[in-house]
């Protein structure tokens, strides 16, 4: 067991280990703090896409990579193209794609 741990540590190297441990610790701290402060956030994490609104899915999925773009940025026809692009690039489920697109089109 000790050998395995030692081999893994050697494999990921010291900076890698520091980064992994720091990220895990920070995530845990921020997650705990956020959940304690906001019950909504904690509740939101256990819902599936079918139970979430287009606005919620839009906020959750887009922000994972970049700032949220306003629905007024594009026309409904343009959102069709953008969302197809994002469905492929960001691996959106059909449910997420459909709901987010409907929300964006309604907001243009």
């Amino acid at each position: 067991m000790k050998e395995i741990v030692s081999r893994i540590c050697k494999w990921i190297d010291l900076p890698g280990a520091v980064i992994i441990i720091s990220c895990a610790a920070l995530t845990w701290l921020i997650g705990c703090a956020s959940n304690k402060k906001s019950g909504e956030l904690a509740g939101g994490t256990t819902l599936s896409a079918a139970e979430k609104s287009g606005a919620q899915l839009w906020a959750e999925n887009c922000i994972r990579c970049h700032n949220i773009r306003s629905p007024s940025n594009y026309s409904p026809a343009q959102w069709d193209v953008v969302m197809m692009h994002m469905r492929v690039r960001a691996n959106l489920t059909p449910e997420e794609h459909k709901k987010i697109l409907a929300f964006l089109k309604a907001g243009t």
């Binding site: 494999w11 990921i12 190297d13 900076p15 890698g16 980064i19 992994i20 720091s22 990220c23 920070l26 995530t27 921020i30 997650g31 703090a33 956020s34 304690k36 402060k37 906001s38 956030l41 939101g44 994490t45 256990t46 819902l47 599936s48 896409a49 906020a59 959750e60 999925n61 922000i63 994972r64 990579c65 970049h66 700032n67 949220i68 773009r69 306003s70 594009y74 026809a77 343009q78 069709d80 193209v81 953008v82 197809m84 692009h85 469905r87 492929v88 690039r89 960001a90 691996n91 959106l92 489920t93 059909p94 449910e95």
Partner: protein, 451 residues
Amino acid sequence: MVTVALLAIPYTMVAQDVATSPPPDYVSRAEYDKLRAEHEAMKQELEALKTAVHAMANGTAPVAPAEGPAAKTAASEGKQVVTSVPSQAATDELRQEVDTLKTQVKETFPGSTKFLVAGYGTAGFTARSGEDPFFDASFNALFLWKLSDRLFFEGEMELEFEDNATTINLEVAQASYLLNDYMTIGVGRFLNPMDFFVERQHMNWVNKLPDKPLAVYDGLFPESQLGAQLRGVIPIGPTKLEYVGFVANAPGLITAPEDFSELGMLDFPNTGNFGGHVAVGGHLGFIPIPQLEVGYGIQRSKVGPRDQAVVNVLQSVDFNYVSDSALLKGLINLRAQWGWSHVGDFVYDPDGSQGFGPLEFNNNRNGGYAQLSYRPTHIDNDIIKNFEGVFRYDRLNQLHTPVGFDEQRWTLGLNYWLTPSTVIKAAYEFDDKNGGARDQDAFMMQVAVGF
């Protein structure tokens, strides 16, 4: 007593008025009958109009409305009554106008395929110690076609102006087809799916700092692949599992470089696929909660001349946590990625003709970054909430390779977001190299616009 009596007089008078006169909303029988007659007349008039309009719409001959008692009553009261419908000529003219308008509206339709030009542009300034400071600019145009509900094409072209020259690179040219809800196939040149930073974060309006991290960009992994990929996502309750698998041209192996430090490195834009090897790889990403994504990517191939090929393995782990925290009054963005590159034992310059061989070594390098940013989006101040602080640590370990040094950097940045996709970035980078190489601290600025 007298005063009270005087004050009571007006109220007594008002009470008497109310008792003797009818209330203001009172309608007499005569008025009611008159209104009722008018109402009936209008109903009949409306029915006649409806019949006429219906006849016009159907293109049938107009029928003169019957001049019933309602019309006569209305006419006798001086009201204008429609007693005839427009002529056939007027109807034809109206029809022609509608047809013209229909044609004009149809001309504005985008057609069955939908096309969009998106992308981003940047302008930057870099002052690096030991080098002349310089400005640079670049423009990435992204062409997107939605050909049908299942077929999609994207092309990305990068135009960069640096060192008095404009370079053009084809970053992406990929056709994607949605096989089903959970599976998409893509062929062409696509961003490297095993490298999370390259695929999701390298765009300048998305990347939080003016430059890009060591190792994961323009370092250990290719930026794009030339081949085919199969990708999709599987929802598992509230969680999601993303997957990508690909086959592509394998990297080339640099065996006779102009610069000795490049010996044993991989040549990524291997468009000709010299050596004839195929790389196989993929990426798995897991999203347990909406704020968190962790992933692992791998690519394996043989590299080098066909008769002396050695194994190359590229691996990457990525971690991304983004949370809009009410407690911390802002948006926390924590990202990290670490990668490994292994090239097996290879004998370089076996006959000594290049002057340094025979030299046998395996080329193992690793590196990555961790980045934390915070933007106080919940602060009720329009200026402060657009500022964003960024800290990044990045590192590339390659001391035991012909490069001969490791490098690590600490970068502090401050961004100001003009719009959600327009940012002004300023950063200072502390550079630290070992192995006798010179440290190159840098001050950088960049304006990035996504559109």
